[in-house]
């Protein structure tokens, strides 16, 4: 029964979002497009951090790689956007193959810091290869032909489609052999290895999927903004923001990161437009309240029938380790 309700709500929201571009102003269209982009990034983090338990803080490196692949290919080689996206995805895959084995040997904070290092190093390289990347001056991409409305809708659907793809990938992953391997690794890597799970293979694959999704978002961003520079596309605040969305929404759930992205972006837009002087403070306060009252994220909160009782339960067994996150319906 609950399952049917979930599916119905998702389909209704999905259809409404397809209809949306013909209803709302360009301002809201742009905000929605931005939300979709962050939803993809949060979902990508969910795959590696939520399911496998590796906090890939530096995942924004793939955003930059995707953006620069598209930028360089479209500017210097006059390829189509679609080709550049494919090449960007391939570069992300190569990157994870190259660094996956050494970096994924590290755990917890060490892994997080190593990915940060990868991001900074890549940013510095891109910054210095001025002949190819334009260096600190950035890169101006060709504008998409067509009127403003058509373009706005085009990017809206590019990101919307990619977001749906990321949800589908996560959904399939969560109930496959792959998903069970990932969750066993998160629980205890040595035990997983002892049970016959090739941990290196599954960790690298998960990171690769996460990287490819992030890369597509980066490519889309470059074409959408038509101007990129290293400081913007390798920006750590993008990583931090998508991490907050992922955590607020609910780690290791299919829809959590999406809900988280909608919430954070919507609230930050609303506070920004209505409380110009206090918006960061207000946003921070709202996030604190959410963390206190829904410590397991929105999805658990909804699943438990919108009850704050999780707060009470959580308080009692504060030291019992990780909270339980039962597989999403």
């Amino acid at each position: 029964m609950k399952k049917i309700a979930t599916v119905l709500v998702c389909v209704a929201v999905g259809v409404f979002l397809v209809w949306c571009p013909y209803l709302v102003s360009f301002y809201w269209l742009r905000i929605l497009t931005n939300i979709f982009m962050f939803a993809i990034l949060a979902q990508a983090i969910n795959i590696i951090a939520g399911y496998v338990g590796y906090p890939a803080f530096g995942n924004v490196v793939f955003f930059g790689l995707g953006a620069y692949s598209t930028g360089i290919l479209m500017v210097k080689f006059q390829t189509t956007f679609f080709t550049s996206v494919l090449v960007g995805m391939a570069i992300c895959v190569l990157f994870t193959l190259l660094f996956g084995v050494p970096v994924l040997r590290l755990k917890g904070h060490y892994f997080a810091i190593a990915t940060l290092g990868l991001n900074e190093a890549t940013r510095a390289i891109v910054d210095n290869l001025s002949g190819l990347t334009g260096g600190g001056m950035g890169l101006s991409l060709p504008l998409r032909a067509g009127d403003i409305g058509a373009n706005a809708r085009y990017f809206y659907f590019v990101f919307y489609g990619t977001m749906l793809l990321s949800i589908l990938v996560t959904y399939l992953l969560s109930r496959s052999r792959f998903g069970y391997a990932c969750r066993s690794i998160r629980s205890d890597e040595e035990a997983a290895e002892g049970m016959g799970i090739n941990t290196t293979k599954y960790k690298t694959l998960a990171w690769m999927i996460s990287a490819v999704l992030t890369g597509i978002a980066g490519s889309g961003y470059a074409y959408w903004m038509s101007y990129i520079e290293p400081g913007v596309v390798f920006d750590m605040t993008i990583a931090i923001k998508s991490f907050v969305m992922f955590l607020l929404g609910g780690p290791a759930t299919v829809l959590g990161p999406i809900v988280g992205a909608f919430f954070v972006e919507a609230v930050s837009t609303l506070t920004w437009s209505h409380l110009l002087n206090y918006h960061t403070g207000t946003l921070g306060a709202i996030i604190i309240l959410v963390v206190i009252f829904m410590p397991q994220g929105f999805i658990s909160f909804i699943r438990q029938g919108f009850s704050f009782s999780t707060f009470v339960k959580k308080g009692k067994k504060k030291f019992s380790g990780r909270e339980k996150r039962i597989e999403m319906a």
Binding site: R175, S176, R177, Y180, A181, R183, S184, R186, S187, D188, E190, A191, E193, G194, M195, G196, I197, N198, T199, A252, G321, R322, K324, R325, I326, E327
Partner: protein, 249 residues
């Protein structure tokens, strides 16, 4: 019949010798106890068999074939499973899913689809009387149920050899008795077991044979009651003076 054969295995960490020329065999269907004072090399030996650390000299044969150079998960798939803690379910998974992981990645797991693994897990839980708890988180089970869950996992994985490294550590006497019972039941399901343990009472109770390691060398092998009362073993644990006091050997 020999299942696992350890032939003159040595392990050096730099200039430190952790294991020196250790040999023993594990026969089908037995429970072999492995004891020794702290630092004797017990866990290192288990690591070598499980493939987490490579051995420096000698060889280990599993069902007649060398396992040299295999990765832990490859060894796991061959049928040697290591359980670090028998009462710790996989976090954030239901009881059913815990058993499904065993069915998916254990022996023959590669050929199973997720659906088939689910069926296998359901059957196993039914068999062990845990079916009612299928859909609750594994961590919410009490100790007794957790042990039944571990048995279900082991059955679903169908390992040939189970390596239990200090799985009874930190349990109270009643829990230890249950643990011993569980180990015996897993053996009765057709699994050969190597138990590494500090709890002497448990070792004496559970093992068919015992081997003793000291300073990386095997000093004794035999029936538990003989080995545990032997002067050499008492000396290894408690020193020469105590051996004299005990007036043994």
């Amino acid at each position: 019949m020999k299942i696992l054969e350890v032939i003159g295995v040595s392990k050096h960490f730099g200039s430190l010798t952790a294991l020196q020329d250790v040999s023993f065999t594990l026969r089908r269907g037995e429970i072999l106890g492995l004891i020794g004072p702290n630092g004797a090399g017990k866990t290192t030996l288990v690591n070598l068999i499980a493939g987490t650390t490579p051995y420096s000299a000698g060889d280990i044969h599993f069902l007649g074939k060398s396992i040299r150079g295999l990765k832990p998960h490859q060894i796991g798939r061959l049928g040697i499973s290591r359980t670090p803690q028998i009462v710790k379910p996989i976090t954030d998974m239901t009881t059913l899913e815990n058993v499904m992981v065993g069915a998916l990645f254990g022996k023959k797991g590669k050929k199973r689809t997720v659906r088939a693994a689910r069926r296998k897990a359901e059957q196993t839980l039914e068999l062990l009387g845990l079916a009612a708890k299928s859909n609750v988180p594994g961590e919410s089970l009490n100790v007794q149920e957790r042990k039944r869950l571990e048995r279900a996992k082991a059955l679903a994985m169908l390992p040939t050899v189970l390596l239990l490294d200090e799985v009874l550590a930190g349990l109270n006497p009643a829990e230890i008795d249950e643990g011993v019972d569980l180990i015996k039941k897993v053996r009765d399901a057709g699994v050969t077991i190597l138990v590494v343990e500090h709890v002497m009472r448990a070792i004496a109770n559970v093992s068919d044979r015992v081997i003793v390691l000291q300073h990386g060398e095997k000093i004794m092998e035999g029936k538990p009651e003989e080995v545990l009362n032997h002067g050499k073993v008492i000396e290894a644990y408690l020193g020469k003076r105590y051996r004299a006091l005990a007036g043994n050997g």
